[in-house]
Structures are given as structure tokens and as C-alpha cells.
């Protein structure tokens, strides 16, 4: 393991410890979303810091409450990691849908629809907004 990897690992662990112990809803020294601060519009990533805290506490419902897209992002990340790992270590050749021509477009459409929906200030859609 080289110095760069170790640095990133150390940084990752310290950030994880920080978000495990501190709930971003309770304090106000965490950076806020620049888009939300300036315009009052939620971006697709709003609530990610609170979702990280919930995830580290193994509160899956809390994650979904803050940001559904965050949960989907984790699924994609996990999928990519598992397929890449299997292909690398077991010399398998499983097709990774990350490389499918349609995948990025579908993801982009999901992000944009999600972005619009979570900004509608009426009941069923307010579930999508972070709280």
C-alpha cells in the first residue's frame, strides 16, 4: 500500500467517524448545499450528509427519508464493486451493466425526474425532500 492510498484511507476513516458520531441535523458547522442556500431549491444530492450519518448508524429507513437517490447510488456503487471484484479475482467475465449504452442515459433521466419531484411542495412528493 502506497502513501497516497493510505492517506485516502485515513481521510475516509476519519470522515466516517465524524459522520458516525455527529448528526448533521443537530449542528450547523457542516457545509450546506450551495444551491439550496442560494436558491432554496433542493438539488438531487441534498440530504446526503444526513443520509451518510443514518447509513453509518445502519438506519436504512433514515437514509431513504433523507435521500432516495443516495440509496440508489449506493446500490449502483455496490453492484459495480461486486462485478469488478468478481471479474478481477476469479477471472470471470460477467457483463457489467455500467458499460451498457443505455445505462448512463437512464440514470441521468432518473436524477432529473427525482430533482423535479422532490421540489414539488405537496404531500406525496414532500417525502422525497430531505427533512
Amino acid at each position: 500500500m502506497n502513501l497516497k492510498t493510505m492517506g485516502f484511507l485515513l481521510l475516509g476513516i476519519s470522515v466516517a467517524i465524524l459522520y458516525f458520531f455527529v448528526n448533521p441535523s443537530d449542528v450547523n458547522f457542516f457545509p450546506k448545499c450551495p444551491l439550496y442556500v442560494t436558491t432554496g431549491i433542493y438539488c438531487p444530492g441534498c440530504g446526503s450528509q444526513r443520509a451518510t450519518h443514518q447509513l453509518l448508524q445502519f438506519n436504512l429507513f433514515g437514509v431513504l427519508q433523507q435521500n432516495v437517490l443516495y440509496f440508489l447510488g449506493i446500490l449502483v456503487l455496490g453492484y459495480h464493486g461486486i462485478i469488478t471484484g468478481l471479474n478481477a479475482y476469479f477471472k470471470k467475465n460477467i457483463y457489467n451493466y455500467i458499460y451498457h449504452p443505455k445505462t448512463p442515459i437512464i440514470i441521468l433521466v432518473i436524477i432529473i425526474i427525482y430533482w423535479v419531484l422532490r421540489n414539488i411542495p405537496y404531500y406525496p412528493f414532500t417525502i422525497l425532500a430531505p427533512n
Binding site: G45, P104, I111
Partner: protein
């Protein structure tokens, strides 16, 4: 499949950039990621390679601007550090 030969499309990285900080850069990254995939599947290897480099560039811009925003924020917070401490736990 020929995954090994396909240039890296940075789709996962772009999604992370979109969710964690910098929406515009992440979205541009995803658009280039889609170009990597579609161009590669239609046999345009050079185009795919180019799109891959673009995706990487935008993903990096997103990453750096995210770090810059956090650093700026930290500087501001430390500059008015007293306020941050007074605001500690104000939701209770």
C-alpha cells in the same frame, strides 16, 4: 464481452460527484459516460476514448470544486468560529 477494451466511463464516479457535491459537473460527467458507452458499442473506439477523457476531466473538476467548497466553508467557519459553537445543538 469486451469490457477490458472499453475505455473507463467514470459513470460511478460521476454519480458520486452528483450526489455528494457538484451537480452540474456530475451531470456533464454522466453525459460523457453515456457517450463512452454508445460510441464504443458502435465501434468508434477513438470517440469513446475521447469521451472517456472528457468524463474524467469533468469528474475531476467536480471533485476539486467539492474540495474547494469544503475548504472555503471551513475557512469561513473558523473565521467566525464563535458563531458555530453558539449554534451547536440549536435544534434541541
Amino acid at each position: 464481452m469486451m469490457d477490458q477494451n472499453q475505455p473507463k466511463n467514470y459513470l460511478v464516479e460521476s454519480i458520486l460527484v452528483t450526489i455528494f457535491c457538484c451537480l452540474p459537473f456530475g451531470i456533464v460527467g454522466i453525459v460523457f459516460a453515456s457517450q463512452v458507452n454508445s460510441k464504443f458499442s458502435s465501434g468508434d473506439y477513438h470517440g469513446a476514448q475521447e469521451a472517456s477523457e472528457n468524463a474524467k476531466k469533468w469528474m475531476k473538476w467536480g471533485l476539486f470544486s467539492g474540495i474547494a467548497i469544503i475548504l472555503l466553508y471551513a475557512i469561513v467557519i473558523f473565521a467566525i468560529g464563535g458563531l458555530a459553537i453558539m449554534g451547536f445543538g440549536n435544534d434541541y
